[in-house]
Symmetry: C2
Subunit: 479 residues, 2 copies
């Protein structure tokens, strides 16, 4: 059992050091490997398979709303990046520059895309002529680069994978509708698939995207009480259209500017899954996103008939549409149990000679560790039921944790004390001035996470300056 | 009908100017758009959907052989690229270099991956310790950059999309087996899905991949008689393993070097589809790869019941698993027909008031233009049958074209005359010396495409130098 212990002991407990726990899980669950380029990581099979499932689920939802996929170049000429003033100011300090192609210097530097608004605008300026060409509903799956100073796997890396949707519409109303529609797609995806409850709202002007008129966000709460921006949807109005000259002739034959949106979700959601659901035994994957939903672990596998039965059960579960693997390696069962827990596989199915004799198997839930004895005659349907329960319970458990760590602050003293003593979301009223956001950030390192769609009137005055309050805001320290 | 004509007339005929015909189809079928960065293109929805289908089909086939997907960084430090001598010599002249991150110069230049052997080797050198860690069967879907001087959409662009598989094995035999296995996956995919017949063989030393021990290839013939390298699979032996120190302890506890392979297929296959199947009316997509397999074109669509019937038929075909669209725009039927042909949709289904009265529709094949009257009661099964026939016939037609353009040359005069007068593959004997390859290339611009697995003894002497022949080789001018 020495080996089993090694696997488990190597993890720092989350209560002791959450950041180290996170790094340990990422490594021990075999999700990533580091490389010699700082801030660039290898996403290993166990990690990439989660991303493939995210892609599959999101892509299907996008296409149901009429979105089409495209691919644009990874290089943006410096002059193109500079066309929209706010946008270039937001991104120029953190882009990687290509200066040489082959053996020769380039005439104009190319930046490796940090995001592709400028390229999509350039495309739309050629593609859109008439109201018949609208709307344009494009999305691209790709990697982007932002030269961050401090990096952490999945959460903040110099290169990361994402999708970026970019749409162009005839009217401001349609653009606003699409912005909210995609935010809802993200929110539903997070709750239904990732079992992560989110707060939907609007970013303050200080926190909105460079070049956007309005940025909407979904915010989730990690186990350590820090917030994570989990997906954003931007309404650009006609700002980019004016900078790039994207115009169409309307039904009255008049020239009009289009109204645009963009929206993105990234590999940081893998970090969210880890930090919302994980525990001191490792990763805990919601069944709907888990690359392997059930692992069969044969007990006393050298005894006659055990491996054969395991193979038979595997085939039965697979035929029922369950993503199943059998671990018939020569490791000890204890080691296999620890490994299943570390990798976050939602259920393990233990089956040995005695079980076979009794025509049963023991199904162990990863989330609650509950052991459920199941007749082999109804294994597939029972396992599916258990997976459904786990999916449901993980969302409820995450919601309960978030709600238990969401506080209200009525005055500044309460605010500062709460943020320092009780990590979590703080709901508090705000006057609408950036000065208060700046002061709160300087004093507490907390930022405005969003102005939630679901407003509450907690008091009449701003938690910071005491002037009349305009909105209730969710605050928190964030990744 | 002016508009219909415009769409068709805008294409140069392939007999007049094949290169211009190709460019016209690529643009008119709405597959790509150019950008302000030379050699980098936008892959538009109609083009990207083909790539998604290629990805889906290949990915499934890879996974069936045990391959797992990963994602590695797009940046390679210059020092890492230089670790394997032949490899760096092959790629350094055509890579793009990142020299600045944010506002600061980098300590070491990073190249944007032209291919990822060096990164995979770096990973394997950390991951592989014991024979228990083998084999490693990784694949990645990504974009790569090669700073080409002359570019053409899909065929040769500075950035392109591809997959690159990289495997590590305990023995030379296993590596060779995997190399051939993946070549066969590519060959089967091309024939079964893309309806493109291929010649399987081995590259000569002159034409093999930089750093490989052996490169295997599938070669296809385009409509203009030029060859296209359509997929390659490399056996690296232990060359990279020695350069990167990738060693494992075998069952006798001895240190051994791994044996590696890599294999790739790219977006250039979209170019192959165009150039193998297209005609003067535009693109012609094999049904298995076509994003839209059938388009319903309502005739006299303003008459009562026509659009309702079209919607009903659409639902029936969709339920039967056929990828179907209805074109109910206000364009004329003639324009819609021309558009369906330009975009290469395998069948169109015409249905107007008289058809509805007769409970029938007219199905028109894109490949043969044959019109088939089908009872609406059995529309789905008949359309599926027709799609299957098209798939089959397109492969046979491409094979017949290739065979009709494959020639034999017994002596150099015959060789030169054939290559100049009859574009196509030339089968000819070869002594095995690079001097002859060089001479043939200089004299005729033809290169050795491959040493086919299916050898024929055409004569005893090399077609170029007259010395004893070792192998029969396929020669041709190539893209």
């Amino acid at each position: 059992m020495a080996k089993d212990k090694k696997l488990v002991e190597a993890i720092t407990s989350m209560e002791e050091d959450f950041a180290q726990w996170y790094t340990d899980v990422v490594k021990k669950a075999d999700l990533i490997d580091y490389t010699s380029v700082k801030g660039c990581m290898v996403i290993k099979p166990a990690g990439y398979a989660i991303w493939e499932n995210i892609q599959h689920e999101l892509d299907r939802r996008f296409k149901e709303t009429g979105v089409e996929n495209v691919y644009l170049p990874m290089f943006i000429p410096e002059s193109l990046l500079q066309k929209e003033k706010d946008h270039v100011e937001g991104f120029a300090p953190e882009v990687a520059w290509v200066t040489h192609g082959g053996l020769e210097p380039l005439q104009e530097r190319l930046c490796v895309r940090p995001t592709s608004e400028t390229l999509f605008c350039d495309l739309y300026s050629r593609e859109v002529q008439s109201h018949r060409d609208l709307p344009k509903l494009y999305n691209q799956w790709c990697s982007v680069v932002r030269w961050e100073k401090t990096t952490r796997p999945f959460l903040r890396s110099r290169e990361f994978l994402w999708q970026e949707g970019h749409t162009a519409h005839a009217t401001a109303e349609e653009a606003e509708e699409r912005t909210i529609q995609m935010l809802n797609v993200y929110a539903d995806f997070c709750e239904e698939v990732l079992a992560i409850p989110v707060i939907k709202g609007r970013k303050t002007d200080k926190e909105k995207f460079a070049g956007a008129e309005a940025t909407y966000t979904i915010e989730s709460l990690m186990h350590d009480g820090k917030a994570l921006q989990s997906g954003t949807s931007h309404n650009f109005g006609d700002g980019f259209a004016k900078a790039f000259g994207i115009q169409y002739t309307d039904k009255e034959n008049k020239l009009q500017y289009v109204h645009q949106t963009s929206w993105g979700m990234t590999t940081r959601m893998i970090g969210a899954i880890i930090m919302v659901h994980g525990d001191n035994s490792g990763l805990k994957l919601p069944p709907r996103i888990a690359p392997v939903q059930a692992v069969i672990i044969p007990i006393q596998q050298r005894k006659e008939g055990v491996l054969e039965k395991a193979a038979e059960l595997n085939a039965v579960l697979k035929a029922a549409g369950i993503r199943v693997k059998t671990d018939d390696t020569d490791k000890s069962p204890g080691f296999k149990f620890a490994e299943q827990e570390m990798r976050g596989i939602p259920v393990r199915i233990e089956c040995g000679p005695k079980d076979i004799e009794a025509n049963q198997a023991v199904v162990v839930r990863r989330d609650t560790r509950e052991k459920i004895t199941v007749s082999l005659d109804e294994l597939a349907e029972k396992v599916q039921e258990i997976l459904d329960s786990i999916q449901h319970d993980m969302l409820e458990s995450a919601r309960a944790h978030r709600d238990a760590h969401t506080y209200v602050a009525h005055n500044y003293e309460e605010f500062v004390q709460t943020i320092n003593e009780k990590p979590g979301f703080i709901k508090a009223m705000w006057c609408g001035c950036q000065e208060c956001e700046d002061k709160i950030k300087e004093d507490t390192a907390a930022t405005s996470r969003c102005i939630p769609f679901e407003q509450e009137q907690l008091s009449d005055t701003c938690v910071c300056c005491g002037k009349p309050a305009k909105k209730m805001v969710y605050w928190g320290r964030a990744y």
